[in-house]
């Protein structure tokens, strides 16, 4: 070793002294950031932006309700009383937040990536726990800061510091929310074991999140007696009063009544620390459970008789379906676009009610079918894309398939069918609704929609991105180009389907032609060295497995 060489390790900073909780957090954040590909980082950023927009939208809407309720109490607002309504809205919002934070709390609390290494080191287990709790708090602070940006911006525009002072209040709510999430996550771990607990946390978190959103929206529509209520009041003339009204009471709380803010913050910190203290002495046992040293054994597991299916086609389809159905992450991704249809369906339904028509807010005849057709193909495309991605890019035993004498074509088509059948069933069932009033339009829509879903699926098979199922929850490896292309195809074919249903068959040829041309372009530009099976970079070479 040369004498004047640079030191191999970075000099420890005062903030991140080796062995401290902050040092552990820094290491964890750094490794997580570096483990993500640029595409998935972009994806994550995009997701965060969408999430923030949704949150901003929800906050603005919620703010209007709360503001009116509070203003009515003050007697200086002309809106009708909304106190109960505001309470329901606030609860719905809190429920949604709890659902989303439960998923992340379980993931952080039970993270096994470096657990063995950390437990093997002389660090006390409690410090690992502290780092995990603080890391979540850091994430919550980051989210709060991002949400608070709206307030900061408004504070600057209006030169009113009250709006910027909502941070401690929001952060307090976030901390309490986190503490509750961690308690539930630990209960799930203890009651159901690591894997089943994770499944339950993800499914329950997702269901709770969606329930909150649904309650929020349905209540909004019922209370306003108009399907257009949300859009009209959020982005219409009511938007600014809503925003001000949301922020003012909270700002007032922070600025005008500092003692209450202080108490709220103190309570939040105390609750969070209380949860930490409760977990403190129990973490070593919890970690043993996570590491599998004391495996949770589910009771009453049934045993089955051996019954094999012979055909490779069916065997592979069944294998793919089993893998999808048993993977909560995939199911959540599939369920999201489907569940997203529900509020839209309610909105469309309400606009088609006689009362809405009488008020002049109804839809023209036939429009309902067109909208349903468009939405079904659009969202069905997202489902088809997700399923195709999991089948095309996630192959856990690629070596097994490649070393087998099974025909590559059969394997390919069985994977394609495994993804196409559920999407097609969804499309067909949805089109039956249109078929009740116009069977021919439904049939045409089914045909065009089916081609659309096949195109979206084909993108994923033409541009596979090898990914590991076990890492999906932490590092979705889906190609961002495939996501964009899938959305584009969904839009094009949804437009075509809507036009066909609306009787504009000739004009629908335009989006269809663009869609087919785009697919040909995708096929021509797809990387030929990579085929649909992951982990097989050499497949397709002379003498390779499928080119006999």
């Amino acid at each position: 070793m040369t004498q004047n060489a640079q030191p191999l390790f970075a000099r420890p900073s005062l903030l991140h002294k080796p062995g401290t909780a902050s040092w552990l957090i820094r290491n964890n954040i750094r490794t997580r950031l570096r483990s993500k590909s640029s595409a998935s980082r972009l994806q994550a950023t995009g997701r965060n932006i969408v999430l923030l927009l949704l949150l901003g939208y929800a906050i603005a809407e919620l703010g209007g309700r709360i503001a009116r309720a509070l203003a009515v109490l003050d007697g200086d607002y002309e809106y009708p009383p909304y106190l109960l309504n505001a309470g329901i809205m606030l609860s719905a919002f809190a429920i949604s937040l709890l659902g989303s934070s439960l998923i992340s709390a379980y993931s952080v609390f039970t993270d096994r990536d470096d657990l063995d290494l950390l437990l093997a080191s002389p660090l006390p287990p409690q410090r690992i726990l502290t780092a995990r709790l603080l890391q979540s708090a850091y994430g919550a602070a980051l989210t709060t800061t991002l949400i608070g940006t709206i307030a900061y911006g408004y504070s600057i525009v209006t030169v009113d510091i009250r709006f910027a002072l909502i941070f401690p209040v929001l952060m307090s709510f976030m901390l309490i929310n986190l503490a509750v999430s961690f308690v539930i996550a630990r209960c799930l771990l203890l009651w159901f074991g690591l894997r089943r607990g994770r499944t339950i946390a993800m499914v329950a978190g997702f269901v709770v999140l969606i329930c909150g959103v649904l309650v929020f929206q349905i209540n909004s529509m019922i209370s306003s007696q108009s399907g257009k209520a949300i859009l009209a009041e959020t982005f219409g003339p009511g938007f600014e009063p809503s925003l001000i009204a949301l922020l003012t009471p909270i700002g007032r709380l922070a600025f005008g009544q500092g003692a209450e803010t202080l108490v709220l913050s103190g309570v939040a910190v105390a609750v969070f620390m209380g949860v930490g203290a409760f977990f403190w002495d129990r973490f070593a046992a919890d970690a043993a459970l996570m590491a599998g040293q004391s495996q949770h054994i589910p009771s009453g597991r049934k045993t089955s008789k051996i019954k094999f299916r012979h055909a490779i086609l069916m065997a592979t389809i069944i294998k793919e379906w089993r893998s999808m159905l048993r993977d909560p992450f995939v199911m959540v991704q599939v369920a999201t676009p489907l569940v997203s249809l529900i509020p839209m369906a309610i909105a469309i339904w309400s606009l088609n009610q006689p009362s809405a028509v009488l008020k002049g807010q109804g839809l023209p005849e036939g429009t309902l079918s067109i909208i349903i057709g468009f939405l079904v193909v659009m969202f069905g495309g997202q489902v088809a894309g997700t399923l195709a991605w999991t089948a095309a890019s996630i192959e856990e035993a690629g070596d097994l398939l490649l070393s087998s004498p099974a025909d590559g074509g059969k394997l390919f088509w069985s994977k394609a069918l495994a993804t196409a059948i559920p999407s097609f069933v969804f499309l067909a069932l949805s089109m039956m609704i249109i078929g009740l009033s116009d069977p021919l339009a439904a049939l045409l829509g089914l045909g065009v929609g089916s081609i659309g879903l096949a195109c979206v699926g084909a993108v994923e098979f033409l541009r596979p991105r090898p990914a590991r199922r076990v890492k999906m929850t932490q590092r979705p490896d889906r190609s961002v180009i495939s996501i964009i292309l899938g959305a584009l195809f969904s839009l094009l074919w949804a437009t075509a389907a809507a036009m066909v249903i609306g009787g504009q068959g000739f004009w629908s040829l335009i989006p269809m032609s663009i869609g087919i041309a785009a697919l040909i372009f995708v096929w021509a530009s797809s990387p030929k060295s990579v085929v649909w099976l992951a982990r097989s970079p050499k497949v397709g070479a002379a003498g390779g497995p499928w080119r006999a």
Partner: protein
Amino acid sequence: MSAPNSLSALSVTNLVKNFGPKRAVDHISIELAPGAFYGLLGANGAGKTTTMRMIAGLLAQDLGTISVFGKDTLDDPRGVKSMVAWLPDEPLLYDKLTALEYLEFVCGLWSVDRLLGEQRAEDLLRWLDLWDVRDQRCEGFSRGMRQKTALAGALIHDPKLLLLDEPFSGLDAAVARQVKDLLVQKTKEGATIILTTHVMEIAQRLAQTIAIISDGRILAEGDIEHLRAFADMPGSSLEDVFITLVDRQAAAAKAASPHALGAGWS
């Protein structure tokens, strides 16, 4: 280039594989009779796995020929694959499938008769002590259970040639004994086995022929006595013979770029 011997279980002739500028396999030739147990020893990156992957049909060779029971891997890859089982060092199972469902899928891949597959699955699962966990998903299995499940998958289609890459890594002594017994049993039934391992004791005990591979080339091949004679180390252990031969091969390269431990090591 010699024509493959149709009586051979495996005939590999002048096999070459390059990865960019690096030559991973450098003119390797292997000839195995049916029922042979062949051990391939080498350091990490010596070319063992690449050789095995080419025989299994996962990689195409740049030069040379591979023939399994008279069938060429390039001319009839599916015919060859129907006789071969490949078990990689990291058993790649389907986490969301149960052990039984995994075996069912493997039977589908190799077109094993349904009733025969069910019978073999039961036999293998019972033999490998996996019967009681047959309905549990592979994601919950320990390393040893995963390895045994993958081994059951490799054996369920009754292959004539078994390619096993580090099959004993991570297995405890009891499980390793089970697997060893099973492999010996398979060779007695006529199966040919190629095994890579870092554990000299396993190679010495199981393999009739041992090849020492380094930098993509086979340095020596034969039974233990032959290897001792080749290294001029009578009475030495296989480990000593292996290290000596590999060291001789790498001596020149090591001399060119020495990496001594620094003063931090006491």
